[in-house]
Symmetry: C2
Amino acid sequence: MNITEFAKAAGVSVSAVSRYFNDGYLSEDKRLKIEAALESTGYMPSYSARTVRSKVTKLVGVILPKLSSESISRVTEGISEVLGAEGFELLLVNTANDYNREISSLELFRQNRVDGVILLASVFTDLHRSLLSKMRVPAIIVGQKLMGFNCVCHNDLGAAYSMTKLMLDKGAKVPAFIGANPEDNAAGRDRRLGFEKALAEAGIELDKSLCEIAKFSMESGYEKAGRIFTQKKKPDCIFCATDNIAAGVMLYCRENNIRIPDDVMIGAVGDSRMGRLLYVPLSSVHLHYKTAGIEGAKMLLNEMKGSSSVHRIMQLEYDIIERESTARL
Amino acid sequence: MNITEFAKAAGVSVSAVSRYFNDGYLSEDKRLKIEAALESTGYMPSYSARTVRSKVTKLVGVILPKLSSESISRVTEGISEVLGAEGFELLLVNTANDYNREISSLELFRQNRVDGVILLASVFTDLHRSLLSKMRVPAIIVGQKLMGFNCVCHNDLGAAYSMTKLMLDKGAKVPAFIGANPEDNAAGRDRRLGFEKALAEAGIELDKSLCEIAKFSMESGYEKAGRIFTQKKKPDCIFCATDNIAAGVMLYCRENNIRIPDDVMIGAVGDSRMGRLLYVPLSSVHLHYKTAGIEGAKMLLNEMKGSSSVHRIMQLEYDIIERESTARL
DNA sequence: ATAATATGTGATAACGGTTTCATATCGTAT
DNA sequence: ATACGATATGAAACCGTTATCACATATTAT
């Protein structure tokens, strides 16, 4: 059933029906007729036909590197909450960390498929930048700072600095580092810089043999812990870029009878739910992921209403969560 | 730029352009012209205009109760993998466990917004059934058995039975149960039935004071553990419907100096990543969530090709993962 | 009293594609 | 030589909406 048939059934004009769904001028009389016919026929207008003419899709594209990650799903939850309330649906693209899929979904959204885009990528190339600036709909980047674009991000440097400082203040002298891909400016580069800043302040020289780059997984953390603990120099604290990495490190410690925090303190960033439940509760830095999603979505809504043309970068702060893994007396 | 302008720029007819994108008869000569023009103009056809005429959206609606759950995001990952490869995009609706949003998104998809629907709901009412049967596009239910519909589900009863039996075989005499909402036929009812079946087989009578219904969260598991351990009768094993619940129980045990598995064994269903990392590694039942997503998506693809009209229920089996929490000698 | 504005109305063009149709050419089997 | 199917083509109808337009009436301001 289309709008013409429905209008006939309701005894009103096609224009009246369209106005009913679009808040135009409409008499109470017609409004009632339409509502009655709606009840009996179950008619609903076609989104695509509406889009062809009005260019409005009521769809927001969300590009993310994976789904099964606590931080990402928290961000998405925030996004979904805000946009859902405004009647937007989410077109979700899981790129599975595949560069090509990331690019091709940006291509996809360059057309009139969505009204706006939220991008959660970890590594940005020139091609990303170029596609983003060619984008004809507003785009928001969550979790990274990218000059010239609208971003909501975390204070990754500060988070890493504070956690490292916490461990050094507790008396650690030989810090180790297990970080993430430095091409990821947030979780990789900035957390590294924060770690280094704390060391510099404490006048401790960084030992390269105690630095590793891991993937975002427990397994990878486990493996890198193995490398570090087989060095001549033994660390008395380890800063991990993510909770998952820290969990892997802990697993290694348990299996090798390395006591936490007595032999080695462990601190991380991310504050996942799991952290509290580990065999030694993990000290971590809470980042406001859901808030990032909420703020990103709000920013996008603003952009979609009237393009402000001024690009903003919003940085969210953090909370230190101190637990037993850094509880040395 | 629309198809008419583009056709002019490429020096071919509008029909030729349409055929290029839809695999119709087209000479090599025209194909090359179009590809060249595509390169220089960056033209892309509008999805919505295509949909108006052809009714094909290349969109699949996915309705889920929440995003930040490991099991759900694994299912979604499977779905996204299969459908992405076939050129489908996912229209994700997070209902936040809100009955009304669940219903309204089914309403939404009843129109020509998507080519198919995958539903991950936990509780089914008559209204769900009625909306699902009125649905004009194929729908698949993942995680639940619903007669008369296409489903991919887990053997929840068997999983709970096997885990409970494992603990009874190890010598447990006083089993306790922390389950989920019984209106959830899979995680609630079936896991309860599996637990009861194992007890019946072992000739053990169920003590109602040692049975609790928790929410799907660690906090809720913690609270219910408190209730159970303050009963006169002390359990020597606890079956938990989910890993999250079990994690809460463990937290309670640690804080109250209840030894696992010496004082009480703990077994659960779900096999989340966290289980391995708990202070006592958790025995759990592995359910093939990602496979469920993959199979559900494949089933949907089949339905979308040619509607088979026969409804299938596919049940996936499980693996017992035995760890220290049930390691009594 | 009149102008200006807000409200209400239906016919029809427009949106940007695909599908249908009528027609033409080619290679190959009869 | 003829018939047939596969390939190729462009014009025009069509999909289901919204936007525009021209026009009518009610309400308020001058």
